[in-house]
């Protein structure tokens, strides 16, 4: 079980964990994030799924933000994220978890998967970001956005905390979906 406060934070450092089963976007994202940020030291850790192996636990820094990357075109990707979430300490959900989905614009395939991810993110009060992974501009856009969230979550932005950002930017289910749920 990954815990958010097991280790003390290091000055001017933020640590990001990117979880993606397909390993398509995470390394590109990580590289761009490292390239953009010059003021603060950023560590990007990549994983296919959680839980993380126990033997590297001691060398692993404190994780400030966990990002689940879900490809909506793939059922497996979604299932993997769903399973991985259970391996996180509840403390993470106070502003240290975020979802990124790709392929959301292909409605014919992704509608149901998108709904599942939406429900998941909404029930966990996490932000849900959409990414255009086909274009380089799309990837760098999502990298910049993740970096912004990471800096807040790592406490590098004065007057802002991960929890406050979460309360503003968390995913909201459309109300008619709520009604549908309550009916069924």
């Amino acid at each position: 079980m990954l815990k958010p406060f097991r280790k003390v934070p290091v000055l001017n450092t933020a640590n990001l964990l990117l979880v993606e089963n397909e390993e398509q976007l995470q390394s590109r994202l990580g590289e761009i994030i490292l390239q953009i940020e010059k003021d603060v030291k950023i560590n990007v850790r990549l994983a296919r799924k959680l839980p993380l192996p126990m033997d590297t636990q001691d060398s692993r820094p404190r994780i400030d933000l966990v990002v689940f990357i879900v490809n909506l075109m793939s059922e497996r990707s979604l299932q993997c994220a769903e399973k991985s979430i259970k391996c996180l300490d509840p403390g993470f959900f106070l502003g240290k978890v975020c979802f990124v989905v790709t392929g959301a614009r292909c409605l014919s395939v992704s509608t149901n998967h998108l709904l599942t991810v939406r429900k998941m993110a909404a029930s966990l009060h996490c932000p849900l970001l959409f990414a255009e992974d086909q274009t380089s501009e799309g990837v760098s856009t999502v990298a910049v956005r993740l970096l912004g969230i990471l800096k807040v979550a790592a406490g590098l932005v004065p007057l802002a905390t991960g929890l406050s950002l979460n309360s503003l930017a968390h995913c909201v289910l459309p109300s008619d979906l709520d009604e549908l749920d309550s009916l069924t």
């Binding site: 292909c106 998108l114 086909q134 910049v144 956005r145 912004g148 503003l168 930017a169 909201v172």
Partner: protein
């Protein structure tokens, strides 16, 4: 008797006759060539008629094998057709020949494949073709080929009213499983309102039950739904995926070549074409949803009913024919023509808007929500171009399409905040008033999630977009309110009408939403100057809503914007804040007077607005003028002990006009001008006596007009310095 030259064998003279010979042969060659050319020429003209005569008269059952005459005519016709297209009568004859199956199916197929019309296809020919189709003699592949041919050439058919008359006959083919997709497409192109009948809908639903949810049937049903919404169940069309395929592969190349040649001949005469509407040269693309069709008429030019937009060349012609204009076959083509947009704007034809919205909604859906996402630069540019065209069309019509709004609602939910950002935000700022019950879900929820997780520049552009949206709503309201009193209808074509309170509700929600965005955004971005100015720009509009847009709504700016602006290091921000406070004061005063004068009941200004305004006013005057910053009466009261611990000596005067970080360089400048010989700088000396007045005057000359207006109305000039702010008294009867 003339002597003929004897042929000689002697060496010396051999050359001569040879030469003679060669000239002879040259001569004969030339005449031969000329003759051949002549022959060719006449062949080029005559053979067409000869061949056509042959094909119109050839008897059924004429043998094909070894029939050189047939082969010759076919080859000649094929060459002409592929090179320059066939004239209308030739198309009629050849179609008749092919469809009547006077020779084999192979010949029919061959004829159909080269049947490229030069200009138009006579309707009668297609009619006869369809009637031959009814005989069921043709092979299945030829039946399909014929249908594909009709679909490809559809826009070239000179007139379609007789085809519409046999709609029922054509409809009867939908039961044929292989022909169904093509028949559905043809019906889609032919359907008018009168064709939509309950039994046809039932039949289609029946077929759908057998064959599954086929896109072509869904498309046709969707069109039926446009014409008579009550006949088609909603569930049918709610989740449409793909549309009709293009079937023009067989004739694409020659048609394109012909079109190219025609374009070369024609001189562009439309001077009413808008700048953006030139179609870019596009290469092959997988999807063509965004291709704006040409302005081809639904009725032929010779139909009695009306004039098609394509024929009009000038604005005066448009005016002359306004009542008899026929809409084009494909509504999307309206977007490409400024003339059509003028027409659309004048006529306010409900069905035209319905059809256009349908086309648009479909095109947008197909482009942005279907299939594997394409990442090519070219398709991105094409999509951006299309969206830009949509933006300029909406600007031209000065209203948004409902299809665009539907698209935006969906798109915002899955947007990454970058894809086509300028166009999307521009389109978003154009949307018509959203009822307050839906505004949260449609606009606010998706925007919140994007806004707070994106960069400060995205935040600025969102505020910019919402400002522009509010400005359009307010402008629209002020125009409508003058025209129609208080009974506002949301849109000329929509049935939903909105009372003033409904409008106020939506505007109030929007202003409050922007208040949340700006306050929290400024906090997150550490009072970024650019974002602060966007927020101030928004509130410059909000503060003047009553006087400028005659909207009786007063919302103060939130503390999250007021204090960052008041304490900003940027003098322009303080100046703009001064202007905003001045505007609020003007509006509130005016509203109060109106209310006392006319006893207007709708002008209910809540007491809290006055209280908020007065708190801000006292704070601002205390900070800038009276040097009582952080005092107990200001809105930003801070415990005195805490302030002393900061070790700032004169904290209470540290934000007056002299010491304020935004103005301190002006104070230094002023100090130097007043006492050029003094080496020690003592800014406090500006605060004494007349120097203060001069300093304030000096600030006015530096262009701080907002500040000047604010000071002139808020501060009593007679009681210098320790003057008190002029708070607005609350009207006694306000609730």
């Amino acid at each position: 008797m003339p002597q003929t030259p004897e042929p000689s064998v002697s060496g010396g003279r051999t050359d001569f006759p040879d030469e003679n010979d060669s000239t002879c042969s040259n001569l004969s060659n030339r005449s031969l060539r000329i003759a051949e050319k002549e022959k060719k020429k006449s062949e080029a003209e005559a053979p067409l008629s000869v061949a056509l005569t042959y094909f119109s008269e050839v008897k059924a059952g004429t043998p094909v094998l070894g029939n050189d005459e047939l082969e010759g005519h076919l080859v000649r016709l094929e060459r002409t057709a592929l090179a320059q297209g066939l004239p209308p009568h030739a198309v009629s004859i050849m179609l008749e020949f092919a469809m009547s199956l006077r020779m084999t199916n192979a010949i029919t197929s061959r004829v159909l494949r080269f049947l490229v019309p030069a200009s138009v296809v006579p309707q009668e020919a297609v009619l006869r073709g369809v009637s031959w189709l009814c005989t069921q003699k043709l092979s299945q592949s030829n039946q399909l080929l014929f249908l594909r041919w009709v679909l490809t050439m559809f826009d070239m058919i000179d007139c379609k009213d007789n085809l519409r008359a046999i709609y029922g006959f054509i409809f009867s083919f939908v039961t044929d499983e292989s022909m169904c997709p093509f028949i559905c497409h043809l019906l889609y192109l032919l359907t008018i309102k009168e064709h939509v009948k309950a039994y046809r809908v039932r039949k289609l639903l029946d077929i759908q039950g057998k064959m599954g949810r086929q896109p072509y049937i869904l498309q046709l049903l969707a069109l039926y739904k446009v014409f008579s919404p009550e006949m088609v169940p909603h569930s049918v069309t709610s989740r449409m995926r793909t549309g009709f395929r293009n079937h023009d592969s067989t004739w694409k190349a020659p048609l394109a070549a012909l079109a190219k040649r025609r374009v070369g001949q024609e001189t562009p005469s439309m001077d009413l074409v808008l700048g953006l509407r030139q179609k870019p040269n596009r290469k092959k693309r997988k999807f063509h949803h965004l291709e704006v069709p040409d302005l081809a008429p639904a009725m032929g030019p010779n139909s009695r009913k009306g004039v098609c937009l394509q024929q009009l060349r000038s604005f005066s012609e448009l005016l002359d024919n306004l009542s008899s204009i026929e809409l084009p076959a494909q509504m999307g083509s309206l977007l490409s023509s400024a003339m059509a947009l003028h027409y659309l704007d004048c006529v306010q034809d409900e069905s035209a808007f319905l059809r256009l919205n349908f086309w648009l909604g479909h095109a947008l859906q197909e482009e942005f929500f279907a299939g594997p996402v394409e990442g090519g630069q070219e398709s991105m540019a094409e999509a951006a171009h299309f969206l830009s065209m949509l933006v300029s069309t909406q600007h031209f019509l000065q209203e948004g399409f409902s299809a665009t709004e539907g698209f935006l609602c969906k798109f915002l939910e899955v947007w990454d905040g970058f894809l086509h950002r300028p166009q999307i935000l521009e389109l978003l700022s154009n949307i018509a008033l959203v009822p307050s019950s839906q505004i949260k879900q449609v606009l606010f929820d998706p925007l919140m999630q994007l806004y707070f997780t994106s960069s400060v520049f995205f935040k600025c552009s969102v505020i910019e977009c919402l400002s522009s949206m509010l400005r359009k709503w307010l402008t629209w309201h002020s125009v409508c309110a003058k025209e129609e009193g208080l009974n506002i209808s949301l849109n000329n074509r929509s049935t939903m009408s909105l009372s003033l309170s409904g409008f106020l509700d939506s505007v109030l929600k929007l202003v409050q939403f922007v208040g949340r965005l700006t306050s929290a955004g400024l906090q997150l971005e550490r009072c970024h100057t650019l974002l602060l100015h966007h927020a101030l720009g928004f509130y410059e509009m909000v503060s003047d809503m009553y006087l400028k847009y005659s909207l009786p709504l007063f919302v103060m700016l939130p503390p999250g914007v007021f204090y960052p602006a008041l304490l900003a290091a940027d003098p322009i921000a303080v100046d703009r804040l001064g202007r905003i406070m001045f505007k609020y004061r003007q509006n509130l005063t005016h509203a109060k007077e109106q209310r006392l004068k006319q006893k207007e009941l709708y002008l209910q200004i809540s007491r809290s607005v006055y209280e908020e305004f007065n708190t801000y006013l006292v704070t601002m005057v205390g900070f800038l003028w009276n040097s009582v910053a952080f005092g107990p009466r200001s809105g930003l009261a801070i415990n005195q002990r805490l302030l002393e611990r900061t070790k700032v000596a004169n904290y209470s005067s540290s934000f007056n006009l002299v010491h304020h970080p935004a103005f301190v360089n002006y104070a230094v400048d002023f100090h130097q001008q007043c006492w050029p010989e003094r080496t020690d700088m003592d800014l406090n000396s500006i605060q004494a006596g007349r120097y203060w007045d001069w300093y304030v005057e000096y600030l006015y000359t530096q262009g701080f007009e907002g500040l000047r207006d604010f000071i002139k109305v808020s501060i009593n000039p007679s009681a210098t310095r320790q003057s008190t702010a002029h708070p607005l008294s609350q009207p006694s009867q306000s609730g």
